[in-house]
């Protein structure tokens, strides 16, 4: 009885008891969730356009952050380093298209997935070899401190990350809806044979797609790097983005954002109100369980394309 009480009743009493704290927890969850969304966005972009489940997205985030910090440490101005890092990510996209994707064209999805895990290992070793393995500090001029707004503690860095994520989604939405290139990308994603017959060529499209994912990785890398330093463990955030991905659906940009918010808030609430019951440190698996429960009701994620199955 007391167990049921502490699971089903006590946490809600706690929430009702101090609503301001609840707001703080939810805000923290939203901020954390948007950080996950930033990584998940990169996954979605690539999966949408080429059907590749890119496990290396986390390492691309790490690689982008490492390159940026490495350049800044060598005295290159911030803006120039950003541009250079962008160039590096585009070159990387070219290399991946030429060396990995093109030879593996028409292979099963699982083979491409495995290839991106290989890519994951390669980039990890390469990034550390070029820029060193020690933890680096990335200072982008936004202090990591809290402000009091209407009695609620708000972390400045997290809020700017949230704003960045919002801006990024707006830019991506315009890019995909209004520009010629973005429309071509969507056409290829919809039906690549029809797109081919309309004169859209596939190769440059894939390069563009991976480049855009690379640029998104830079943004994610900057935000995560500013938050917790640029270090090897950054590549593991890919694992954090995966539940966001299956929750939102692999093909949906909006899903990545909404999924991130649900996971972020759910994780924080679970950790704060239910975590102590089972000894804490549940954030490693709680997101997955949460996503799993959603998936049981909607197997293709919240915003994923409806799976039509026929024999």
């Amino acid at each position: 009885m007391s167990l049921l009480y502490s699971i089903l009743v006590a946490p809600f009493l706690d929430m009702a008891g101090s609503p301001l704290f609840l707001v703080e927890v939810v805000l923290g969850g939203i901020a954390a969730g948007l950080m996950y969304s930033l990584v998940a966005l990169g996954f979605v972009l690539i999966f949408k356009a080429s059907g590749v489940f890119n496990f290396a997205q986390g390492v691309m985030v790490l690689f982008a952050a490492l390159t940026l910090v490495g350049l800044m440490e060598r005295g290159v101005p911030v803006v120039v380093s950003l541009v250079l890092t962008g160039a590096v990510m585009v070159v990387l996209a070219f290399a991946i298209e030429r060396l990995v994707l093109r030879p593996l064209i028409n292979q099963a999805h699982i083979i491409l997935f495995m290839a991106t895990i290989g890519l994951n290992f390669f980039l990890e070793g390469f990034g550390e070899m070029v820029w060193g393995a020690n933890v680096k500090k990335l200072d982008i001029g936004i202090p990591d401190r809290s402000l009091m707004v209407a009695g609620v503690q708000v972390n400045q860095l997290e809020m700017s990350a949230a704003a960045t994520a919002g801006a990024l989604v707006a830019i991506l939405a315009v890019f995909f809806q209004r520009t010629r290139v973005g429309r071509a990308l969507r056409a290829v994603a919809d039906d690549h044979e029809a797109a081919l017959s309309l004169g859209i060529s596939l190769r440059p499209n894939r390069v563009i797609d991976w480049s855009v994912a690379g640029l998104v990785a830079i943004v994610a890398g900057v935000m995560w790097g500013a938050k917790s330093g640029v270090q090897f463990s950054l590549s593991l955030i890919a694992l954090k983005a995966l539940p966001v991905l299956i929750l939102g659906g692999f093909e949906s940009v909006a899903g990545a954002i909404v999924g991130g918010l649900i996971i972020g808030v759910g994780e924080k609430l679970g950790e704060v109100y239910w975590g102590p019951l089972v000894g804490g440190a549940i954030e490693n698996w709680f997101a997955y369980m949460l996503a799993l429960v959603f998936l049981l009701f909607r197997p293709q994620g919240l915003f994923g394309e409806k799976i039509i199955e026929r024999v």
Partner: protein, 358 residues
Amino acid sequence: MIYREAGQFKTSYAADEAIFPIVQDRWFVSLALAAAALVPPLVANEYWLQAILIPFLIYALAAIGLNLLTGYAGQLSLGTGGFMAVGAYAAFKITTAWPALNILAVFMLSGVIAAGVGLVFGVPSLRIKGFYLAVATLASQFFLIWLFNKVPWFVNYAASGTITAPPRTVLGVMVTGPEATAPVRYLVALGVVAVLALVAKNLVRGRLGRAWMAIRDRDIAAEIIGIRPLPTKLLAFGISSFYCGVAGAELVFLYLGSAETLAFDINISFLVLFMVIIGGLGSILGSFLGAAFIVLVPIFLTNVPHLVGLQLPVALLKQIELMIFGALIIFFLIVEPHGLARLWQLTKEKLRLWPFPY
């Protein structure tokens, strides 16, 4: 080639359906098995047994387990490490609770417990498919590892949080624990993997294996011709987890000696998946080839710089190793996406006609 199968006529269904229908193949496999049992314990030194052969056999067992699930039943799983951990911790709990129980029976029992856990985590596979399922199986990986870390009962309240293989004997010979010699542990691992591989081979040739393959190739069509997806998929998860559980128990008891949950983290899941993909999806032989590849490549990469007299800093070496490993995986996927088993099959077919190909 060195042998021809001409003149070998099959006069019964049993002969037609044999695992190795050709006499020479039967001889070859028996001889290879005998050689594997006799030669290494006599010839190989401690390093070879401990660093290469024992982990190879254990990983091969885990790879067979995952191959049953992913290669035959088509359910992509990233939770192998979690199921191996279940086997290891179950074996530890059972053998410390009943020390008199034969350690081989303990391995099998821990496999059964892992199978039970696998059944539970296999339930979502009925609704969730493909990559969604793969990510969902990560839930089991992270949850199980967290559970073993959090609940001190699993490690018998040891302050260090590690499980250690206690000394156990079979027929008077020390098999586990610090005093067990490498040749003995090697032979036990070999025996277990040989028997279980034979079972797996027969399983996939039989009714269940065919049902798995039907589900893999087109699940709705399989359902229509009368294969019930729920029991078939759940059995795939259960049996696969049994193999992984036994492999996990062996990993601690025959190879590592003592371990904590770190030995079963997400990396081991990926490693076993690599073995299955590189070896060949849907092939028992491929599981062995893939395990050999993944065990040997890192050892090869660490030793090559020493052999050519190159002196490099350790950190750099580690990074280069990682890069070459990643590049090799991509290279192999490009060259032969169907794995080493397919490569072996092609070679065999070429050799059959050699030296007079038409």
